[in-house]
Symmetry: C2
Protein backbone atom coordinates (compact mmCIF):
# COMPACT_ATOMS: atom_id res chain seq x y z
CA UNK A 1 0.00 0.00 0.00
CA UNK A 2 1.18 3.46 -0.82
CA UNK A 3 -0.69 6.41 0.54
CA UNK A 4 1.76 9.19 -0.16
CA UNK A 5 -0.83 11.02 -2.21
CA UNK A 6 -2.93 11.32 0.94
CA UNK A 7 -3.35 14.79 2.44
CA UNK A 8 -2.17 13.73 5.88
CA UNK A 9 0.82 11.76 4.74
CA UNK A 10 2.06 14.52 2.55
CA UNK A 11 2.13 16.78 5.61
CA UNK A 12 3.92 14.33 7.86
CA UNK A 13 6.38 12.38 5.80
CA UNK A 14 8.63 11.02 8.53
CA UNK A 15 6.07 9.08 10.53
CA UNK A 16 4.23 8.01 7.45
CA UNK A 17 7.20 6.52 5.74
CA UNK A 18 7.87 4.74 9.01
CA UNK A 19 4.34 3.54 9.37
CA UNK A 20 2.81 3.41 5.91
CA UNK A 21 -0.25 4.63 7.75
CA UNK A 22 -3.31 6.26 6.38
CA UNK A 23 -3.51 8.09 9.67
CA UNK A 24 -7.21 8.67 9.53
CA UNK A 25 -7.07 8.01 13.23
CA UNK A 26 -5.36 9.50 16.19
CA UNK A 27 -2.12 10.61 14.58
CA UNK A 28 -4.00 12.85 12.19
CA UNK A 29 -4.71 15.19 15.08
CA UNK A 30 -1.06 15.98 15.67
CA UNK A 31 0.90 18.74 14.04
CA UNK A 32 4.05 18.05 12.06
CA UNK A 33 6.42 18.70 14.98
CA UNK A 34 4.54 16.41 17.29
CA UNK A 35 4.39 13.70 14.70
CA UNK A 36 8.10 14.07 14.12
CA UNK A 37 8.75 13.63 17.85
CA UNK A 38 6.42 10.63 17.96
CA UNK A 39 8.01 9.01 14.93
CA UNK A 40 11.37 8.91 16.70
CA UNK A 41 9.99 6.67 19.43
CA UNK A 42 7.45 4.73 17.41
CA UNK A 43 8.19 1.32 16.02
CA UNK A 44 6.53 -0.67 13.31
CA UNK A 45 5.62 -4.23 14.24
CA UNK A 46 4.39 -7.22 12.33
CA UNK A 47 2.34 -9.74 14.27
CA UNK A 48 1.33 -13.22 13.25
CA UNK A 49 -2.26 -14.39 13.58
CA UNK A 50 -2.94 -15.24 17.20
CA UNK A 51 -0.23 -13.02 18.71
CA UNK A 52 -1.12 -11.47 22.05
CA UNK A 53 -0.88 -7.69 21.93
CA UNK A 54 -0.70 -7.09 25.65
CA UNK A 55 0.95 -8.84 28.55
CA UNK A 56 4.00 -9.97 26.61
CA UNK A 57 6.73 -8.42 24.52
CA UNK A 58 4.53 -7.05 21.77
CA UNK A 59 3.17 -3.67 22.75
CA UNK A 60 3.52 -3.84 26.51
CA UNK A 61 2.54 -0.74 28.35
CA UNK A 62 1.98 1.12 25.12
CA UNK A 63 -0.35 2.30 22.44
CA UNK A 64 -0.55 1.58 18.74
CA UNK A 65 -2.21 2.46 15.49
CA UNK A 66 -3.30 -0.52 13.43
CA UNK A 67 -1.86 -0.23 9.93
CA UNK A 68 -3.36 -3.39 8.51
CA UNK A 69 -5.14 -6.47 9.74
CA UNK A 70 -7.79 -7.11 12.38
CA UNK A 71 -7.36 -7.10 16.15
CA UNK A 72 -9.88 -8.76 18.45
CA UNK A 73 -10.55 -7.60 22.00
CA UNK A 74 -11.37 -10.50 24.30
CA UNK A 75 -12.85 -10.94 27.72
CA UNK A 76 -12.91 -14.31 29.41
CA UNK A 77 -14.46 -16.05 32.39
CA UNK A 78 -12.37 -18.09 34.85
CA UNK A 79 -13.77 -21.34 33.43
CA UNK A 80 -12.51 -20.59 29.92
CA UNK A 81 -15.61 -19.19 28.24
CA UNK A 82 -14.63 -16.29 26.01
CA UNK A 83 -16.39 -13.38 24.41
CA UNK A 84 -14.93 -11.11 21.76
CA UNK A 85 -16.02 -7.64 22.89
CA UNK A 86 -14.65 -5.63 20.00
CA UNK A 87 -12.97 -5.76 16.62
CA UNK A 88 -10.48 -3.16 15.54
CA UNK A 89 -9.48 -2.49 11.96
CA UNK A 90 -6.88 -0.17 10.44
CA UNK A 91 -6.45 2.64 11.20
CA UNK A 92 -7.92 2.31 14.69
CA UNK A 93 -6.05 3.40 17.75
CA UNK A 94 -5.32 0.62 20.19
CA UNK A 95 -4.78 0.91 23.92
CA UNK A 96 -6.53 2.10 27.02
CA UNK A 97 -5.44 5.57 28.15
CA UNK A 98 -5.33 6.57 31.80
CA UNK A 99 -5.43 3.11 33.25
CA UNK A 100 -2.65 0.81 34.32
CA UNK A 101 -4.11 -2.18 32.57
CA UNK A 102 -7.14 -2.81 30.51
CA UNK A 103 -9.72 -5.37 31.58
CA UNK A 104 -9.66 -6.79 28.06
CA UNK A 105 -6.92 -8.62 26.24
CA UNK A 106 -6.09 -8.00 22.60
CA UNK A 107 -5.04 -10.56 20.05
CA UNK A 108 -4.26 -10.47 16.33
CA UNK A 109 -7.14 -12.10 14.43
CA UNK A 110 -5.20 -11.89 11.16
CA UNK A 111 -1.64 -10.98 10.48
CA UNK A 112 -1.35 -7.44 11.77
CA UNK A 113 0.99 -4.57 11.10
CA UNK A 114 0.93 -1.78 13.61
CA UNK A 115 2.79 1.30 14.63
CA UNK A 116 3.51 1.17 18.33
CA UNK A 117 4.14 4.12 20.66
CA UNK A 118 5.54 4.10 24.21
CA UNK A 119 2.91 4.87 26.82
CA UNK A 120 4.77 7.83 28.26
CA UNK A 121 5.43 9.53 24.94
CA UNK A 122 1.84 9.38 23.87
CA UNK A 123 0.44 10.43 27.24
CA UNK A 124 2.77 13.40 27.26
CA UNK A 125 1.47 14.32 23.81
CA UNK A 126 -2.13 13.98 24.97
CA UNK A 127 -1.45 16.54 27.67
CA UNK A 128 -0.02 18.93 25.08
CA UNK A 129 -2.63 18.44 22.43
CA UNK A 130 -6.36 18.94 23.06
CA UNK A 131 -6.84 17.89 19.44
CA UNK A 132 -5.41 14.49 20.22
CA UNK A 133 -7.67 14.09 23.22
CA UNK A 134 -10.58 15.07 21.02
CA UNK A 135 -9.66 12.33 18.56
CA UNK A 136 -9.46 9.82 21.37
CA UNK A 137 -12.86 10.92 22.65
CA UNK A 138 -14.37 10.53 19.21
CA UNK A 139 -12.97 7.03 18.85
CA UNK A 140 -14.09 6.08 22.37
CA UNK A 141 -17.63 7.28 21.61
CA UNK A 142 -17.67 5.39 18.33
CA UNK A 143 -16.50 2.22 20.07
CA UNK A 144 -19.16 2.77 22.72
CA UNK A 145 -21.84 2.99 20.04
CA UNK A 146 -20.51 -0.18 18.45
CA UNK A 147 -20.41 -2.00 21.78
CA UNK A 148 -24.01 -1.02 22.51
CA UNK A 149 -25.14 -2.11 19.06
CA UNK A 150 -23.54 -5.44 19.75
CA UNK A 151 -25.21 -5.69 23.17
CA UNK A 152 -28.55 -5.59 21.37
CA UNK A 153 -27.33 -8.37 19.07
CA UNK A 154 -26.08 -10.50 21.97
CA UNK A 155 -29.07 -9.91 24.21
CA UNK A 156 -31.97 -10.08 21.82
CA UNK A 157 -31.16 -11.58 18.42
CA UNK A 158 -31.43 -15.25 17.50
CA UNK A 159 -28.61 -17.21 15.88
CA UNK A 160 -29.58 -16.51 12.28
CA UNK A 161 -29.96 -12.79 12.95
CA UNK A 162 -26.58 -12.72 14.68
CA UNK A 163 -24.77 -14.38 11.79
CA UNK A 164 -26.49 -12.10 9.27
CA UNK A 165 -25.55 -9.07 11.39
CA UNK A 166 -21.95 -10.27 11.51
CA UNK A 167 -21.74 -10.66 7.72
CA UNK A 168 -23.18 -7.17 7.27
CA UNK A 169 -20.68 -5.79 9.79
CA UNK A 170 -17.75 -7.26 7.90
CA UNK A 171 -19.21 -6.38 4.51
CA UNK A 172 -19.66 -2.83 5.71
CA UNK A 173 -16.06 -2.66 6.81
CA UNK A 174 -14.88 -3.99 3.46
CA UNK A 175 -17.08 -1.53 1.59
CA UNK A 176 -18.29 1.30 3.88
CA UNK A 177 -20.39 2.69 1.02
CA UNK A 178 -22.47 -0.50 1.00
CA UNK A 179 -26.13 0.31 0.50
CA UNK A 180 -29.08 -2.01 1.10
CA UNK A 181 -29.81 -2.00 -2.63
CA UNK A 182 -26.17 -2.69 -3.47
CA UNK A 183 -24.94 -5.17 -5.97
CA UNK A 184 -23.25 -8.41 -5.03
CA UNK A 185 -20.39 -7.95 -2.58
CA UNK A 186 -17.58 -10.44 -1.94
CA UNK A 187 -14.95 -10.61 0.77
CA UNK A 188 -12.80 -12.92 2.86
CA UNK A 189 -13.79 -13.41 6.48
CA UNK A 190 -10.98 -12.20 8.74
CA UNK A 191 -11.92 -14.71 11.43
CA UNK A 192 -12.29 -18.46 11.96
CA UNK A 193 -15.62 -20.06 12.84
CA UNK A 194 -14.47 -20.25 16.47
CA UNK A 195 -13.72 -16.54 16.54
CA UNK A 196 -17.03 -15.73 14.90
CA UNK A 197 -18.77 -17.90 17.50
CA UNK A 198 -16.91 -16.11 20.31
CA UNK A 199 -17.98 -12.80 18.82
CA UNK A 200 -21.62 -13.82 18.42
CA UNK A 201 -22.02 -15.63 21.74
CA UNK A 202 -22.72 -18.90 19.90
CA UNK A 203 -20.96 -22.22 19.21
CA UNK A 204 -19.09 -23.04 16.01
CA UNK A 205 -21.71 -25.62 15.08
CA UNK A 206 -24.50 -23.07 15.30
CA UNK A 207 -22.54 -20.52 13.27
CA UNK A 208 -21.91 -23.16 10.62
CA UNK A 209 -25.56 -24.18 10.49
CA UNK A 210 -26.76 -20.59 10.06
CA UNK A 211 -24.25 -20.00 7.26
CA UNK A 212 -25.53 -23.16 5.59
CA UNK A 213 -29.08 -21.87 5.98
CA UNK A 214 -28.17 -18.57 4.30
CA UNK A 215 -26.32 -20.44 1.56
CA UNK A 216 -29.23 -22.81 0.87
CA UNK A 217 -31.56 -19.81 0.81
CA UNK A 218 -29.34 -18.30 -1.90
CA UNK A 219 -28.54 -15.16 0.09
CA UNK A 220 -24.81 -15.91 0.16
CA UNK A 221 -22.21 -18.18 -1.39
CA UNK A 222 -19.42 -19.72 0.70
CA UNK A 223 -16.15 -20.79 -0.90
CA UNK A 224 -13.37 -22.52 0.99
CA UNK A 225 -14.90 -21.53 4.33
CA UNK A 226 -13.47 -18.03 4.40
CA UNK A 227 -14.61 -16.50 1.14
CA UNK A 228 -18.13 -15.07 1.18
CA UNK A 229 -20.20 -13.72 -1.69
CA UNK A 230 -23.32 -11.86 -0.65
CA UNK A 231 -25.70 -12.28 -3.57
CA UNK A 232 -28.40 -10.12 -2.09
CA UNK A 233 -27.33 -7.61 0.59
CA UNK A 234 -30.89 -6.28 0.95
CA UNK A 235 -32.21 -9.75 1.72
CA UNK A 236 -29.33 -10.41 4.10
CA UNK A 237 -30.37 -7.27 5.94
CA UNK A 238 -33.90 -8.59 6.38
CA UNK A 239 -32.35 -11.63 8.07
CA UNK A 240 -30.39 -9.45 10.49
CA UNK A 241 -33.42 -8.35 12.51
CA UNK A 242 -32.72 -4.62 11.93
Amino acid sequence: MNHRQDVHTSEVPVLCVACEARLRGVCGALDADQLMALSKTSTKKRLETGAELVGDAEIIDGYANILSGVVKLIKGLPDGREQIVGLQFAPDFLGRPFQAESAVSAQAATNVVLCSFPKRTLEALIKQSPQLEHSLLKQALRELDEARDWMLTLGRKNALERVASYLLLIANYIDPALQPQSEVIAFDLPMSRLEIADFLGLTIETVSRQLTKLRVDGVIQVRQSRHIVVNNPARLKTFSGC
Copy 2:
Protein backbone atom coordinates in the same frame (compact mmCIF):
# COMPACT_ATOMS: atom_id res chain seq x y z
CA MET B 1 -29.91 15.97 50.03
CA ASN B 2 -27.55 18.75 50.97
CA HIS B 3 -23.97 18.64 49.80
CA ARG B 4 -22.85 22.14 50.66
CA GLN B 5 -20.08 20.77 52.83
CA ASP B 6 -18.62 19.12 49.76
CA VAL B 7 -15.28 20.43 48.46
CA HIS B 8 -16.56 20.95 44.94
CA THR B 9 -19.81 22.58 45.86
CA SER B 10 -18.12 25.03 48.16
CA GLU B 11 -16.03 26.23 45.23
CA VAL B 12 -18.93 26.62 42.87
CA PRO B 13 -21.91 27.73 44.89
CA VAL B 14 -24.15 29.09 42.16
CA LEU B 15 -24.51 25.99 40.06
CA CYS B 16 -24.59 23.78 43.07
CA VAL B 17 -27.38 25.57 44.81
CA ALA B 18 -29.25 25.37 41.55
CA CYS B 19 -28.46 21.72 41.07
CA GLU B 20 -27.83 20.26 44.50
CA ALA B 21 -25.22 18.25 42.65
CA ARG B 22 -22.31 16.39 44.01
CA LEU B 23 -20.53 17.22 40.77
CA ARG B 24 -18.15 14.33 40.90
CA GLY B 25 -18.73 14.20 37.20
CA VAL B 26 -18.24 16.50 34.29
CA CYS B 27 -18.97 19.82 35.92
CA GLY B 28 -16.16 19.30 38.39
CA ALA B 29 -13.74 19.95 35.57
CA LEU B 30 -14.87 23.52 35.06
CA ASP B 31 -13.53 26.57 36.82
CA ALA B 32 -15.76 28.87 38.84
CA ASP B 33 -16.37 31.32 35.98
CA GLN B 34 -17.32 28.62 33.55
CA LEU B 35 -19.64 27.01 36.05
CA MET B 36 -21.24 30.36 36.70
CA ALA B 37 -21.86 30.80 32.97
CA LEU B 38 -23.25 27.31 32.73
CA SER B 39 -25.51 27.75 35.72
CA LYS B 40 -27.29 30.65 34.05
CA THR B 41 -28.47 28.41 31.21
CA SER B 42 -28.90 25.19 33.11
CA THR B 43 -32.23 24.04 34.41
CA LYS B 44 -33.13 21.50 37.03
CA LYS B 45 -35.70 18.96 35.98
CA ARG B 46 -37.68 16.31 37.80
CA LEU B 47 -38.78 13.34 35.74
CA GLU B 48 -41.29 10.66 36.64
CA THR B 49 -40.46 6.99 36.23
CA GLY B 50 -40.78 6.08 32.58
CA ALA B 51 -40.24 9.58 31.18
CA GLU B 52 -38.40 9.71 27.86
CA LEU B 53 -35.26 11.81 28.09
CA VAL B 54 -34.78 12.37 24.38
CA GLY B 55 -37.10 12.95 21.49
CA ASP B 56 -39.66 14.93 23.43
CA ALA B 57 -39.71 18.03 25.58
CA GLU B 58 -37.44 16.77 28.35
CA ILE B 59 -33.82 17.33 27.41
CA ILE B 60 -34.11 17.63 23.66
CA ASP B 61 -30.89 18.47 21.91
CA GLY B 62 -29.07 18.83 25.19
CA TYR B 63 -26.90 17.35 27.88
CA ALA B 64 -27.51 16.72 31.55
CA ASN B 65 -25.95 15.65 34.80
CA ILE B 66 -27.99 13.14 36.76
CA LEU B 67 -28.52 14.42 40.31
CA SER B 68 -30.51 11.48 41.60
CA GLY B 69 -32.23 8.41 40.25
CA VAL B 70 -31.40 5.90 37.54
CA VAL B 71 -31.56 6.39 33.79
CA LYS B 72 -31.67 3.43 31.39
CA LEU B 73 -30.27 3.55 27.85
CA ILE B 74 -32.32 1.45 25.47
CA LYS B 75 -31.89 0.05 22.01
CA GLY B 76 -34.74 -1.67 20.23
CA LEU B 77 -35.38 -3.80 17.17
CA PRO B 78 -38.16 -2.97 14.68
CA ASP B 79 -40.28 -5.85 15.99
CA GLY B 80 -40.35 -4.49 19.54
CA ARG B 81 -37.58 -6.50 21.22
CA GLU B 82 -35.63 -4.25 23.56
CA GLN B 83 -32.24 -4.33 25.20
CA ILE B 84 -31.07 -2.01 27.94
CA VAL B 85 -27.52 -1.16 26.88
CA GLY B 86 -26.52 0.97 29.85
CA LEU B 87 -27.53 2.24 33.25
CA GLN B 88 -26.56 5.67 34.45
CA PHE B 89 -26.56 6.78 38.06
CA ALA B 90 -25.93 10.13 39.70
CA PRO B 91 -23.70 11.99 39.03
CA ASP B 92 -23.18 10.63 35.50
CA PHE B 93 -23.14 12.87 32.50
CA LEU B 94 -25.86 12.17 29.99
CA GLY B 95 -25.82 12.89 26.29
CA ARG B 96 -23.88 12.10 23.18
CA PRO B 97 -21.42 14.83 22.17
CA PHE B 98 -20.54 15.52 18.54
CA GLN B 99 -23.45 13.71 17.01
CA ALA B 100 -26.83 14.99 15.94
CA GLU B 101 -28.69 12.18 17.55
CA SER B 102 -27.76 9.17 19.55
CA ALA B 103 -28.63 5.69 18.37
CA VAL B 104 -29.94 4.91 21.85
CA SER B 105 -32.94 6.29 23.65
CA ALA B 106 -32.87 7.20 27.33
CA GLN B 107 -35.65 6.73 29.82
CA ALA B 108 -36.03 7.34 33.55
CA ALA B 109 -35.98 3.98 35.37
CA THR B 110 -36.85 5.65 38.68
CA ASN B 111 -37.90 9.17 39.45
CA VAL B 112 -34.98 11.25 38.27
CA VAL B 113 -33.70 14.72 39.06
CA LEU B 114 -31.23 16.14 36.61
CA CYS B 115 -29.50 19.34 35.70
CA SER B 116 -29.93 20.00 32.01
CA PHE B 117 -27.66 22.10 29.80
CA PRO B 118 -28.34 23.41 26.29
CA LYS B 119 -26.29 21.62 23.66
CA ARG B 120 -24.67 24.77 22.33
CA THR B 121 -23.58 26.09 25.71
CA LEU B 122 -21.91 22.90 26.70
CA GLU B 123 -20.26 22.33 23.34
CA ALA B 124 -18.87 25.85 23.46
CA LEU B 125 -17.47 25.08 26.91
CA ILE B 126 -15.92 21.85 25.67
CA LYS B 127 -14.03 23.83 23.05
CA GLN B 128 -12.74 26.18 25.74
CA SER B 129 -11.86 23.61 28.34
CA PRO B 130 -9.52 20.68 27.66
CA GLN B 131 -10.25 19.60 31.24
CA LEU B 132 -13.90 19.14 30.38
CA GLU B 133 -13.04 17.08 27.33
CA HIS B 134 -10.74 15.00 29.49
CA SER B 135 -13.61 14.32 31.90
CA LEU B 136 -15.83 13.31 29.02
CA LEU B 137 -13.14 10.98 27.71
CA LYS B 138 -12.76 9.39 31.11
CA GLN B 139 -16.48 8.79 31.40
CA ALA B 140 -16.68 7.45 27.83
CA LEU B 141 -13.86 5.00 28.57
CA ARG B 142 -15.51 3.90 31.79
CA GLU B 143 -18.81 3.35 29.99
CA LEU B 144 -16.95 1.42 27.31
CA ASP B 145 -15.45 -0.86 29.95
CA GLU B 146 -18.89 -1.37 31.48
CA ALA B 147 -20.45 -2.09 28.09
CA ARG B 148 -17.76 -4.68 27.33
CA ASP B 149 -18.19 -6.31 30.74
CA TRP B 150 -21.85 -6.61 29.96
CA MET B 151 -21.16 -8.06 26.51
CA LEU B 152 -19.41 -10.94 28.26
CA THR B 153 -22.45 -11.37 30.49
CA LEU B 154 -24.89 -11.29 27.56
CA GLY B 155 -22.82 -13.48 25.28
CA ARG B 156 -21.52 -16.14 27.63
CA LYS B 157 -23.30 -16.31 30.99
CA ASN B 158 -26.34 -18.42 31.80
CA ALA B 159 -29.49 -17.05 33.42
CA LEU B 160 -28.42 -17.61 37.04
CA GLU B 161 -25.02 -16.03 36.43
CA ARG B 162 -26.65 -13.05 34.77
CA VAL B 163 -29.03 -12.40 37.65
CA ALA B 164 -26.23 -12.80 40.20
CA SER B 165 -24.07 -10.40 38.17
CA TYR B 166 -26.93 -7.90 38.10
CA LEU B 167 -27.43 -8.03 41.86
CA LEU B 168 -23.71 -7.52 42.39
CA LEU B 169 -23.73 -4.59 39.96
CA ILE B 170 -26.52 -2.86 41.85
CA ALA B 171 -25.07 -3.76 45.24
CA ASN B 172 -21.78 -2.33 44.11
CA TYR B 173 -23.43 0.90 43.09
CA ILE B 174 -25.21 1.16 46.43
CA ASP B 175 -22.00 0.43 48.31
CA PRO B 176 -18.91 0.88 46.08
CA ALA B 177 -16.71 -0.32 48.93
CA LEU B 178 -18.39 -3.71 48.82
CA GLN B 179 -15.84 -6.47 49.29
CA PRO B 180 -16.32 -10.16 48.60
CA GLN B 181 -16.01 -10.88 52.31
CA SER B 182 -18.46 -8.11 53.20
CA GLU B 183 -21.27 -8.41 55.64
CA VAL B 184 -24.90 -8.54 54.64
CA ILE B 185 -25.92 -5.77 52.24
CA ALA B 186 -29.47 -4.57 51.60
CA PHE B 187 -30.92 -2.34 48.92
CA ASP B 188 -33.98 -1.60 46.82
CA LEU B 189 -33.85 -2.60 43.18
CA PRO B 190 -34.20 0.48 40.99
CA MET B 191 -35.83 -1.52 38.21
CA SER B 192 -38.87 -3.72 37.58
CA ARG B 193 -38.55 -7.36 36.60
CA LEU B 194 -39.24 -6.39 32.99
CA GLU B 195 -36.44 -3.86 33.04
CA ILE B 196 -34.08 -6.35 34.64
CA ALA B 197 -35.03 -8.86 31.95
CA ASP B 198 -34.40 -6.28 29.22
CA PHE B 199 -31.03 -5.56 30.78
CA LEU B 200 -30.06 -9.23 31.09
CA GLY B 201 -31.37 -10.41 27.72
CA LEU B 202 -33.87 -12.72 29.47
CA THR B 203 -37.62 -12.90 30.10
CA ILE B 204 -39.33 -11.78 33.32
CA GLU B 205 -40.21 -15.38 34.15
CA THR B 206 -36.61 -16.49 33.93
CA VAL B 207 -35.44 -13.55 36.06
CA SER B 208 -38.06 -14.41 38.65
CA ARG B 209 -37.09 -18.07 38.72
CA GLN B 210 -33.40 -17.31 39.21
CA LEU B 211 -34.21 -14.91 42.06
CA THR B 212 -36.30 -17.66 43.63
CA LYS B 213 -33.38 -20.06 43.21
CA LEU B 214 -31.01 -17.65 44.99
CA ARG B 215 -33.61 -17.08 47.70
CA VAL B 216 -34.19 -20.80 48.28
CA ASP B 217 -30.43 -21.29 48.37
CA GLY B 218 -30.28 -18.70 51.16
CA VAL B 219 -27.97 -16.36 49.27
CA ILE B 220 -30.49 -13.53 49.23
CA GLN B 221 -33.80 -12.49 50.76
CA VAL B 222 -36.49 -10.79 48.69
CA ARG B 223 -39.11 -8.59 50.32
CA GLN B 224 -42.00 -7.00 48.42
CA SER B 225 -40.31 -7.72 45.10
CA ARG B 226 -38.03 -4.73 45.14
CA HIS B 227 -36.16 -5.03 48.42
CA ILE B 228 -33.14 -7.32 48.36
CA VAL B 229 -30.96 -8.50 51.24
CA VAL B 230 -27.76 -10.20 50.18
CA ASN B 231 -26.97 -12.56 53.04
CA ASN B 232 -23.73 -13.75 51.55
CA PRO B 233 -22.05 -11.49 48.98
CA ALA B 234 -19.10 -13.87 48.59
CA ARG B 235 -21.42 -16.74 47.71
CA LEU B 236 -23.42 -14.53 45.37
CA LYS B 237 -20.16 -13.78 43.59
CA THR B 238 -19.49 -17.48 43.04
CA PHE B 239 -22.88 -17.64 41.31
CA SER B 240 -21.95 -14.77 38.99
CA GLY B 241 -19.44 -16.78 36.97
CA CYS B 242 -16.60 -14.31 37.65
